[in-house]
Each structure stands twice: as C-alpha cells, then as structure tokens.
C-alpha cells in the first residue's frame, strides 16, 4: 500500500488579474483512485487541473506530486519558481488529456505517440514504434497508426491523445473534459477507454460533464462552484443525497437538460 497521495493539493489560490478563480482548494488523490471534478462552467475546474500540472502557475498554496512540490522551490520561507528542468521532472509522472486533443497535425498518430518516447525517453526508433503501436492498439486505434490526425474521427483523435500520454507510463492521468468536443455518438468509445484504464488501477483526475461516467467510475466526486469545493464524497452521496443547495441546483439543471 502506497500511503502518500499521488497528488496532494493544499490551499490552492489562483488569480487571473483581478479575478479570484481558485479560492483555497484542497484535494488528495490516492493511488489507483479516480476523482471526478464536476461543476458549472467557469467554476474553475480547468484552472484547477492546469494548476495541478503547473500549466497555469498557482499563486498560493502547494501542489505535491508523489510528495514533490510542483512548480516552486522553497528556501527559508521564501519561494521562487523552480527551473524548467525540475518542473519537467516532477510532472513527468503526469499524463494529460485535453478537451481539444491537441495532437500535432503534421505527424501521424504513431508519430504523435513516439515523439516524446524518442526525444524525452531517448528510445531508439524501433523500440519507440513498438511501444507506440502497442499503445494505439490498447486504445483501439492500432489500424490508424500511419494516418494523420485530420483523417481520424474526433473519438479516434482523442484516443490517440490518450495513447500518447499513456506511452510515457504516467502514474496519474489528468483529463479535462475529454469528451466535450466530441459528437455524441463518439463519446462512448472514449469513456470506455477511460473506464478500462480506471479498471487497470490508473490514478485519474477527470474534469467532466459526463455524470454517468462520474457515477459509475469515480471513487470520489468533487463539486466546484465559484472557485471553491462546495461538496465532495462518493458518487452515491453526491448524486443521490446532495447536501448543498448549489449542488442540487446544478444537478437539477443537468437533469432537465438531458431529459
């Protein structure tokens, strides 16, 4: 049993100019757990996830990845931004999947997956391609290895992006609304890959509007509104026994939209 949480967030604050977007977030993600973050648009879900990867530098608080502080160095109470090299090193265990896939359009599906294997992990071409093909097959796009992203459906592109992240053997995967840009009929294939991943014991933080996925797959659901965590707990409590008015309202709005 690994005692230390894979991701630990303490008192996180983030401003964009005058806007106070994260107002003291605490979060712990233990190994092999799936945490889903839900909440209305603009509540700060993406900003939280991006801060947890230091894509958006946070202002106050701390993010620890496997016990290592991400983004800053602290020496006698003062903190300074860490070097790129150290930041890369701390976040090398994080795999991230974005709403808009962010594949590189001038590289094939396989080229997208092998790039970091070759450059960062310094693998030879054959070894990188072996892993690349294996990863693409794992997410069900093995036959698309030599296609460019523009030839793939949205669902295939997103699965390729998942394969690209998985190839680096991350210890935790972040997903920021991975299915929100997809046509409805393609959502299922991506969620299924994510569910399989969770079944294999991958530690995951998933920002999503897919309440069905959160209800089935999450170990913990975190409801955010206005830059704060309003309520958190097992999916059954969150979806069936919401305590706060804001969560009830959010769930009612969501139900009325989907019916």
């Amino acid at each position: 049993m690994d005692e230390k949480p894979v991701v630990l967030v303490e008192g996180l604050h983030k401003h964009f100019g005058a806007a106070h977007v994260l107002k003291g977030i605490d979060l712990a993600v233990d190994s092999s757990r799936v945490v889903c973050v839900i909440g209305p648009s603009g509540s700060g879900k993406s900003t939280l996830l991006r801060s947890m990867a230091f894509l958006d530098p946070y202002d106050e608080g701390r993010v620890f990845i496997e016990g290592r502080l991400l983004g800053y160095r602290e020496t006698d109470g003062k903190r300074v931004r860490d070097s790129d090299r150290n930041i890369d090193s701390v976040r090398s265990v994080i795999g991230m999947v974005f709403q808009h896939y962010n594949l590189w359009p001038h590289k094939t599906a396989l080229g997208n997956v092998t790039e970091a294997l070759r450059v960062v992990r310094k693998l030879g071409r054959r070894e990188a391609e072996r892993i690349g093909v294996e990863m693409l097959a794992k997410v069900g796009v093995g036959d698309k290895a030599h296609d460019f992203p523009a030839r793939l459906s949205g669902g295939q592109q997103q699965r390729t992006a998942i394969a690209r992240a998985l190839a680096m053997r991350p210890h935790v995967m972040y997903f920021d609304e991975p299915t929100s840009a997809l046509d409805p009929e393609l959502v299922g294939e991506v969620l299924q890959v994510m569910q399989e991943l969770a079944g294999e014991g991958m530690t995951m933080v998933v920002v999503t509007h897919e309440m069905g996925f959160a209800a089935h797959v999450a170990d913990e659901v975190v409801f955010m509104d206005g830059g704060e965590v309003i309520e958190r707990g097992p999916p059954d409590d969150i979806f069936k026994r919401p305590r706060s008015g804001r969560l009830r309202e959010f769930l009612d709005t969501w139900r009325s939209r989907t019916i």
């Binding site: 795999g95 991230m96 974005f98 590189w104 001038h106 690209r164």
Partner: protein
C-alpha cells in the same frame, strides 16, 4: 531595336550578373530565415524585454528604405574595422532587412497554431527548443509559404539596389552594357525580362511546394 545584337554580344555578362543576383538573393533569404525565426519567437516571447527589443529591430528595418540601409551598412562596416567586400555588405544588409519582414510573416503563422499543441508537448516533457524546431516551425512554414515566396520575389527585385555599392549583379551589368552599346531601352528591357523569368520560376516552385504540402496537411 536590336535585342539580338545586344544579347549575342553580352550574354556572358548578363549570365554572370543574373547569377550574382540569384546567389546574393538566395543567401540573404536563407540567412534572413534563420535570423527571422529567432526574431519571430522574440516577438511572441513571454519576456517583455525580448519582445520589446525584437519589435524595435523589426520596426527599424521595416520602416527605413533598403537603399538607405544598404549604404549605412556599406559605410559602417569599415568604420567598425570590418573590411569586407561590397558583396558581403550587400548580403548583410539584405539579410537584416528580410529578417524583419520574414519575422513578421512567421509571427503571424505561429499565432495560428493552437497553444494547446505546445501545452501537450510540455506535459510530455519536450523542451522549448525541440517544440519550436519540430512542432511549431514545420507547421508554420507550410502556412506561410505563399507569403515567403512573395518576400523572396521582393528581395530578388530589391537586390537591384546593391548595384549602387558596386556589386556586379544584373542591374550593374546592364548599366555597363549600356555604357558600351548606348542602347539603354533594349538593355534594360532585357534585364527586366531576366528578372521576370527568375521570379516566374520562383512563383512556380512555390506553387509546386504548396501543392505537394496541401495533401499532407489534409491527409
């Protein structure tokens, strides 16, 4: 009108002049591309100082006439102890000029690439230089190819100005031919046709590249 007479007597001089024009232009465009790429990343740098410095360079070289730039470089180099032949001064001036224009073209191209592609690369641990060289520049060059061809054509035409610092390219060659034939109209028309021919080849090559690249992007 005696075009054939002029051509048959001076075709070697025209050929040498055209070659000089082509070489000076090609070298300036190529060196200007390297400088222009650095400058373009400077123009979009998160560091304000780098951004400012790049913008000042860009504005200075875009905002003054090439002829003035050429003469300043030509007379400045000996002053700072660099005794280089006129052709080197010409290449330096044209390079620094086209770098400013190319930087602006590249900047525009870079801004169309979704920043998410860079974020994905950063999360995979790819370094900034690698991201620029292997992810941003290849996509950007495809996008800006037509503008780059325009800039190349423009440098090729503007290279006629370097005749004033005694580089024997096509324009100066024509002046020399005029001084022995006393046939300015025919001679300069021949020069015009040679410039036009070189630029048509460039435009064709650009169109060919574009056709070749188009399927790759949409593949």
């Amino acid at each position: 009108m005696d075009f054939l007479g002029i051509i048959s007597n001076h075709h070697n001089a025209f050929l040498a002049g055209a070659t000089m024009t082509a070489v000076v232009s090609a070298v300036s465009i190529a060196l200007g591309m390297v400088l222009g790429l650095w400058l373009a990343f400077g123009l979009i740098s998160p560091n304000r100082l780098i951004r400012r410095a790049s913008a000042v360079y860009r504005s200075a070289w875009r905002g003054t006439p090439i002829l003035v730039q050429l003469l300043i470089v030509f007379y400045l180099l000996p002053e700072i102890g660099l005794d280089v032949p006129p052709v080197a001064a010409a290449i330096i001036a044209l390079t620094m000029n086209t770098a400013a224009f190319q930087a602006e073209i590249f900047r525009g191209g870079l801004l169309t690439i979704p920043p998410g592609q860079v974020e994905a690369a950063r999360m995979l641990g790819l370094g900034v230089l690698h991201i620029r060289v292997r992810i941003l520049v290849p996509q950007m060059l495809r996008l800006v190819l037509p503008a780059l061809v325009n800039e190349t054509i423009s440098i090729l035409k503007n290279s006629s100005l370097i005749s004033v610092i005694a580089v024997t390219e096509l324009m100066r060659t024509s002046q020399q031919v005029v001084s022995v034939t006393y046939r300015p109209l025919e001679t300069y028309m021949i020069a015009a046709v040679v410039y036009l021919a070189m630029n048509l080849v460039l435009a064709r090559a650009g169109a060919w590249f574009e056709r070749r690249q188009a399927p790759a992007a949409a593949r």
